[in-house]
Subunit: 222 residues, 2 copies
DNA sequence: GTCTATATGAAGATAGAC
DNA sequence: GTCTATCTTCATATAGAC
């Protein structure tokens, strides 16, 4: 028995739209939990099968290999991330500050809503072969670029003021990534509140005029 | 062959003071590299032995088990982190802003100087049994608490203004942790510059009056 | 699709010579 | 301390009946 869990979350949380029907979906969900808790290499096909209520051989009727299970989870995770960020940006207007708020709320929201998916998709991507991982890797690169473009546009307009654009992107992206490891629904703040606070921190990193929480705590809206 | 490396760094960087003399040290360093690149479960005793230039059985003359190798690396990593933060705080005076700068520079500096050690000590700690991991886990808890105390003290003095103290700690700590995964000595900024920029971002998260980089870019020092 | 049974290799660890 | 040789268990994956 280990001294610390790899992540705090205990429920799998894989949406119906992420999950194929029947045994295929049950197996995928079991793999998600075990990959998240023990890592890709540390979770065995036997364990995944047992957690799915089938025998190990049955698994190979649905997925050609354990690696294909990981590839599907990485793909689903990054697609959920992209879907969430895109939807948020479509509702955010043209102000770079609003766009950062939208991006960070979606980014953090994905990591609180699907912590296991985020841990696996980000933290186990390296275990995929070039063939199975290339598509997902490209999705990840694009997600970073979207934020970088927003930040750069804000800098160009004089709305943001940062010592280094790319380091702001790594800082904002990195603090959001980590949320998947410690967040649980039992946390004193709910996911919305965490996302709001992190969005405020992102704006502060960017040297942007405060929009959000400060309005409530100080009453000095713009 | 994988599509992405788990971390960008390629050199092991284990200081003489971290490393026992003789074969014991060579084995520890080989384990560090392999645990960092493939994870604890993904690196085999055979590989570690081969990378050390010894046979697998020889390894057991120095460490009672593979898990003991990981335990030593986790301990060394967290002790280096504590040592670095302590030294920085002893030179930082009593102003919470200076203390945050000192903490973040040391925190980020540890993650740029010893990326493999940081990745293993943080990212593989969960693989340790309660018995072997308890001491290291306590070190990690204390490190977080040190930052939390600094932030709380700044808030109490009215120097910092944050919507949520603990979320500021997770944000600042988390963005620093991630540095170990992407930083290499070939990066366009050197480690000092990265640490400085991240310290500035931490101050901004905390709503502190700018001290550092702004002075150089704007000339409005306090 | 799911099973039983198993092939094949690699894992962590140990015995005992030198 | 280091080696050769090996024990035992577990890994991923497959064959073929139902």
């Amino acid at each position: 028995m280990s001294v610390v869990r790899r992540l705090a979350a205990t429920s799998t949380v894989l949406l119906p739209e992420h999950k194929p029907p029947g045994s295929r979906g049950v197996i995928l969900e079991a793999a998600l939990r075990l990959f998240a808790e023990r890592g890709y290499v540390g979770a065995s096909v036997r364990e995944i099968a047992e957690a799915s209520g089938v025998k190990p051989a049955t698994l190979y009727a649905h997925y050609p290999s354990k690696e294909h299970l990981l590839a599907e989870l990485c793909r689903v995770g990054h697609e959920e991330h992209r879907r969430s960020v895109r939807a948020a940006l479509l509702n955010s207007g043209t102000d770079p500050r609003d766009q950062v708020i939208a991006y960070v709320r979606a980014h953090v929201g994905m990591h609180t809503a699907f912590p296991m998916l985020a841990v696996v998709a980000n933290g186990e991507l390296h275990a995929l072969s070039a063939e199975l991982g290339a598509a997902t890797f490209e999705l990840r690169r694009q997600s970073e670029q979207v934020l970088a473009d927003i930040v750069q546009r804000g800098v160009d307009r004089g709305v943001f003021d940062v010592p280094h654009v790319w380091l702001a992107v790594t800082a904002i992206g990195g603090m959001g990534l980590r949320v998947a490891y410690w967040y649980t629904p039992e946390y004193e703040l709910d996911a919305e509140q965490v996302a709001d606070v992190y969005a405020e921190y992102a704006l502060r990193i960017l040297g942007a005029a405060p929009l959000n929480l400060r309005r409530e705590t100080r009453g000095d809206s713009s």
